[in-house]
Amino acid sequence: MDDGYAVELREVTKKFGEVQAVDNVSLQIHDGEFFSLLGPSGCGKTTTLRVIGGFEIPTKGDVLIEGEIQGYKPPFQRPVNTVFQNYALFPHMNVFQNVAFGLQMRKVPKAEIRERVNEALDQVQLLGMGKRKPNQLSGGQQQRIALARALINQPKVLLLDEPLGALDLKLRKAMQLELKALQERVGITFIYVTHDQEEALTMSDRIAVMNFGKVHQIGVPEEIYEKPTNRFVADFIGETNFMSGRISEINPEYVCVMVDETYPVSASPIDGVHVGDTITLAVRPEKLTVSSEKTREVNISGRVEEVIYIGTDIRYVVRVTDNIQLTIREQNSGGLAERRFQPGESVCVGWAKENASLLKE
């Protein structure tokens, strides 16, 4: 409890044979935080979760829960509970028995079990479903049972492994909000594994973006989205335009990058770069504007290649050089399918300096 973290990973590495599933990961997760591990499949996020839960023992490093080193403790001795990817509900038990299982194992008196199970079922709006079997429930209901089965044990930390992965989009969106509300109500630390960036951005207090077993960036959703620190994060979260170039000038106000050796473009400075370094500039499509004249802080000219109408937005694809092509998302706030520019037209693409992120390779 000395450092006040709910969960802390210290240089945790997990190898399966030659494969490094988790590579030297250090994390601190605060009490009551909704923390997401985000990354593509096979990035090590689930293994990280399993290491915390005690289903895998790290090859190197320590897992601390509530300041206590877990070592070789098996799952049933850790103050955490897990909501599994496919729920792992016991098919031979009814809903009541599933939810009661943890309390039974801990020898809680029967009367109390009954009371707490009903409470837990009430919390996930499934009161009265106690006698049903899991296979008689819909996916969303099964998901809630899995949640109730874990939460009833009042764990210090709840581990969730892509809990919404099997649900259809609409239910998924609804459950995201419900889950977030539930987490705020019960005040338990949630560690949430997902490959869905939108889900992570919507629900999390903080996000750790992972790839190939490494944590690439940890931060609040805004930070992760607006200020990605490397190309993987910028590419994985949302859509991004990349431009590579060489730094031609550095001063306290801005960094000047010669994009494609020809176009000087300025961006907010970052640490640890020098004149002459190759660097990548990343700008989100919705931060870009298209106009006929230079109207923004940074401007670059090009020729419209494509105009795509996608309902909420209009998407322009502008060719700047042979190597650089920018995608611009313009909100469809004008009239009926207003297309301000046509393919072939020369235009100016502009953005604000602070919207461009400099990414070291």
Binding site: G53, F55, P74, P75, F76, V80, N81, T82, F84, Q85, N86, A88, L89, F90, P91, H92, M93, N94, F96, Q97, A100, F101, G102, Q104, M105, R106, K110, I113, R114, G130, K131, K133, R149, A150, N153
Partner: protein, 317 residues
């Protein structure tokens, strides 16, 4: 409408005809024949006299002369022990095979089946060579081990080896005992236990064990509360597949059992082949068959109920 319906009926009849024919000619008719004969009497020269009497059944259940009942009891006992031992060996074995990587599972299962390629009689004869007084085990027991103990006692005279040396003077009473029969039966029917258990365990979703462990179940609790109930159908099937043939075993007790270790299968055989008392042999067969039927039904009911008990218990914990 009516014509299409009857045409459909004819088609079904046509399709099931081969199996129906087979069952009637080779199963039902002989069975009825045996049933009918069981109410007859042994003729003076071994034929059947159609008397319509239940004296054969009386003879079997005769409380004043419980010879056959006693054999029947021992048969049940041997079959029961065989089933339990097969389960205790077969279930962990199935578990182990199911936990191997998929590519080695099929070769392990194949290894399990390989003995089946040799005639059962030959394999049982092999057990005679292992179990008899001059067999493999007893050669080691009275020869190697005995000699070894004697030399050890000469080197280290202080050791209390007298008892062991005395014990190894005589061969172990293996051959011709119930134990030998049980060993032979377990050996013979083990694959029938392993395969259904394997099928059940292989289907089992091991993330459920993780879920149980996550919910504070230790390994034993996880096994008893989750793995066992969910693999019970395999255990039930395997037990039936071992128990039934053990009950009717004939070759194994005939070869490995002694004069005192007669099973009901041997009684039936001798009634037909030596005593030439077809009616009594038929009656014994029928008692055995009825028992198998009742036992199987009971067992299924029990297994299904215990499976249900887990789920229908409702709020009862």
């Amino acid at each position: 409408m009516a014509t299409s319906h009857s045409r459909h009926k004819w088609r079904v009849l046509f399709l099931i005809f081969p199996s129906l024919f087979w069952l009637i000619v080779f199963f039902l008719i002989p069975l009825l024949l045996v049933f009918a004969i069981s109410f007859g009497q042994r003729g003076t020269y071994g034929g059947v006299e159609w008397d319509l009497t239940i004296s054969n059944y009386f003879r079997f259940f005769d409380p004043r002369d419980p010879l056959y009942l006693r054999i029947f009891g021992r048969t049940l006992y041997i079959a029961f022990i065989t089933t339990i031992v097969s389960l205790l060996i077969g279930y962990p074995m199935a578990f182990w095979i199911a936990s191997r990587p998929p590519e080695s599972r099929s070769s392990l299962l194949l290894l399990l089946m390989v003995p089946f390629w040799t005639n059962f009689l030959v394999r049982t004869y092999a057990w005679i060579l292992i179990l008899r007084d001059q067999g493999l085990i007893n050669t080691i027991w009275t020869g190697t081990l005995h000699g070894w103990l004697i030399s050890l006692s000469q080197v280290l005279p202080g050791l209390p080896l007298e008892g062991l040396i005395h014990l190894t003077t005589n061969p172990l009473p293996l051959f011709g005992t119930d134990l030998a029969i049980i060993i032979g039966l377990v050996y013979g029917w083990l694959p029938d236990m392993v395969l259904p258990c394997y099928a059940a365990i292989e289907r089992f979703d091991f993330s459920l064990v993780e879920a149980a462990q996550d919910l504070y179940a230790n390994r034993v609790q996880a096994f008893l509360r989750v793995i066992l109930p969910l693999t019970l159908p395999g255990i039930v099937a395997g037990s039936i597949l071992v128990f039934i043939p053990s009950l009717g075993a004939y070759i194994t007790p005939d070869l490995l059992g002694g004069a005192k270790s007669v099973m009901i299968g041997n009684v039936i055989y001798s009634q037909f082949m030596s005593a030439r008392d077809y009616p009594f042999g038929s009656a014994v067969s029928f008692v055995l068959m009825a028992l198998m039927l009742v036992g199987t039904l009971l067992y299924f009911r029990l297994a299904v109920d215990s499976g249900k008990g887990e789920s229908d218990g409702g709020q009862g914990i």
